[in-house]
Amino acid sequence: MQFLKFASAAAIAASLALLASLHQPLGSSLPALGPLFSPFTGFWQNAEPVGAHADISLAFPELKGEVDVVFDKRLVPHIFAENLQDAAFVQGYLAAKYRLWQMDIAIRATAGRLAEVAGERALERDRLQRRKGMLFAAENALKGWQRNPEEIGLIEAYTRGVNAYIENLRPADYPIEFKLMGYSPEPWSPLKSAIFFKSMAETLSSGHDDLPATNSRLVLGDSLFYFLFPEYNPSQSPVIPPEVQWAFTPLPLETRQSPPQEMIGQLIPHRQFQQPPANLGSNNWAVAGSKTATGRPMLCNDPHLKLSLPAIWFEIQIHTPEINAYGVSFPGVPGILIGFNDYVAWGVTNGSHDVLDWYRIDWADEQRETYFYDGQARPVDKVVEVIRVKGRNQPLLDTVRYTAWGPVVYENPGQPYFDMAMRWVAHDQPAPKPFTEIGTFWKLMQARSYDDYRAAMEGFDNPIQNFVFAHKDGDIAITVNGLLPLKRPEQGRFVQEGSSSANAWYGSIPRSQAPAVHNPSRGFVSSANQHSTDPSYPYYYNGNFDDYRGRFINRRLEEMDNITLQDMMALQLDNYSLKAEEAMPVLLGMLDSTATALLSRPEVKGLQAWDYRYEKGAREPVLFELWFKEAHRATFDELLALQDSLEVLLPEPWRFLDLLRRHPDHPVFARRGSGQPGQAPAIVTGALESALSQYEGQSWSDYKDTGINHLANIPAFSRLHLPVGGWRDAPNAISEQNGPSWRMAVSLGEEMEAYGIYPGGQSGNPGSPYYENMVDKWLDGGYERLLFLKQPGGAGEQLLFTMSFGPEQ
């Protein structure tokens, strides 16, 4: 009896303790509550003391010299090192110290290793990442880096820095997400830096609409297709001003024995994989001294990426004998991507070019072991992807077939004899050259002249970026930079036949002939993801280009004079939509006689008086967006109906407005079923009625509902339902989940005056007061003065603490 009592008490205690030590016990979604709640190991250990900042001294044999790091009041580290490698080591150490889980999860998400920690629910996503060849792309990038001792030296030093931090971690020190998800950090590697870099390629340069374009052309016929989907908006204001003359002889496209096949004459049943949202984008510009109050150039950049916590950016200053640069970095990649130094400033926006094309693969056997290529049956390279899945004993094996074009991503069991392979610039191993993408940024960090900037461009292949540049002594420039495939007209706009090498790209556009401009007469350079050039550029390219932000920014920069840094920030924060400005008169002018009653409604009166600004409290943008969407939907209802079974394109907003303005009698404005053309007024009026019936009078920010999500979508670690204006068509491109992930404005001069802010905080730890401390200021359109130090100290109360690193104690 006594024994039974003891045994049952001990058994209950032990089994409950065991249960509380298990992650997701009994199939629940609970984390291991025991270690999580223990104040010795769990989340309490992530509760950082507020306001307590002790100086830290550390020794690592990997270092060659002393490194001092001072942290300013926003926890921005200012690294003072004696050489580049030591700087990279410490950058890696600090990236890990503040963003370790973010680095881990980014790698998993990109390379298809999420299911290892998240289980079944991440499996399909992982499979897609593997099929897209993300790891293949990273391995090829790494091969390029490894050829260049200087570049790989920096990456290896950075890796050692990350690992020096990880090696000294106790489980109690792990970032809280590891504790919640029940796994441990892994060592970093140069390959992981490459994977992180390729996550950017995926985000910025994997967009494509070859499938829906092919289908649309077949469904609509050539004449209607080309009418609805012109590639160039004639009112666009391209990145390179139209007055720039192309002073080169373009390469002729080599003639090929077999004629290229323009497109496949059949519908493509495959569904496209989910692509980066269309509203990812960015703005950058530089204005010459002739237009500024200081007489010196100013440079601005705001990349619109997915807003997340931890934020995508980490602010940093790096000072060595070669470099004194300040800006933002990616946790996972050494160097500064957007920033300035004592001489120059630089920034990037996405080029949005189509560098990913699809080739139809005709299988030569039912097992899909061989495919037809230039008249022969060629074997595929099979790569067996091993996907470990949490909760499964055996990993899932998935075979990915690589062809001459690239991996076969889209497979369709219903059609055993044809699939589609992906040809993507980001898969390619870089051609041998002194440095590649990482090197480009380290060259920019060291740049002292326009020539240094141009030389830095040479290394950068992908993703295509508009690199803006300004020098304190007056130069401004912009370069559409990266590996632009050399294509014959319309090549890659549609799915191509993969059985003939005649359909391959023709190489790439020589870098010296890439769109670029240096000190244009208009006194400014700018980009906002719009077309790089007007159609006079001698090479064909296509892409998913923005239509409104760039035009508006160029119009404003043209008008502005005697510009101050405050004017520049105001332009970044401008909520004005050129799309609304152009659409409103068209829509209002189109209303038919039955609309008199509508026009007397107060909401519509308000809309007529609207200033086209997407302010957070405004109500007009809600009604406008509903109206525009309804009108577009009602016009293209036949195409929308097709979308249920087939991927097809829908005309872009600018083209829709163009049609309303110039072709209101066109058959596209026939109402469904009626067959009567010329019903544009009825469609637009009906759309307003429909919009009014959906309109609930909410404010723009309530309707838009911007949120900054935690990377694991944990609401408690997110900032949701934010009261903030802006929209994707306005310079202040804050949409539901994307927006200016970093705003920077630099006034160049003997002393750089720079401001910046990002919606997050330097620490990735939700238990730190620096986790999201900049969000509120960012929401209010505030900026921080960036502390650009000459030596480790001297900024007085602005500094929090110092970390000293040395080779030995």
Binding site: A9, A10, A20, S21, W44, A47
Partner: protein
């Protein structure tokens, strides 16, 4: 008196052990100490509960104060909208529950071991 000493010993030894070893040292220490102190079932249970609750809750409250409630506020939200203070109490309760169970099991072990009187 014995129980007071038990509680003090549990807090000190429990803290020392948990600096290095996993969280379940808390119930294990409560059990071994209850055996060592030769406590009866109820005193062992209540003493274990109180000692562990004081240790976990006290340490959590200390960390929470330094952190000004940032982390606990988020964890509270994660667990259904609890306040930071509630998270401290929950931590104390969690530790106390296991401490009490451990104490009880230790006390009951007395009766089956030869050292019991």
């Amino acid at each position: 008196m014995k129980v007071t000493l038990y509680i003090i010993a549990l807090i000190l030894i429990g803290a020392g052990l948990q600096m290095v070893f996993p969280w379940w040292m808390m119930p294990l220490a409560a059990a071994v100490l209850a055996l060592g102190f030769n406590l009866k079932a109820w005193p062992a249970f209540l003493g274990g509960l109180l000692g562990a609750a004081l240790l976990w809750g006290g340490y959590a409250a200390y960390l929470n104060t330094l952190n000004q409630g940032v982390m606990a506020g988020r964890i509270g939200e994660l667990f259904g909208g609890q306040s930071a203070t509630a998270v401290v109490l929950l931590t104390a309760l969690f530790g106390g529950f296991f401490g009490g169970l451990g104490g009880l099991a230790g006390s009951l072990a007395r009766n089956i071991l030869p050292l019991s009187d």
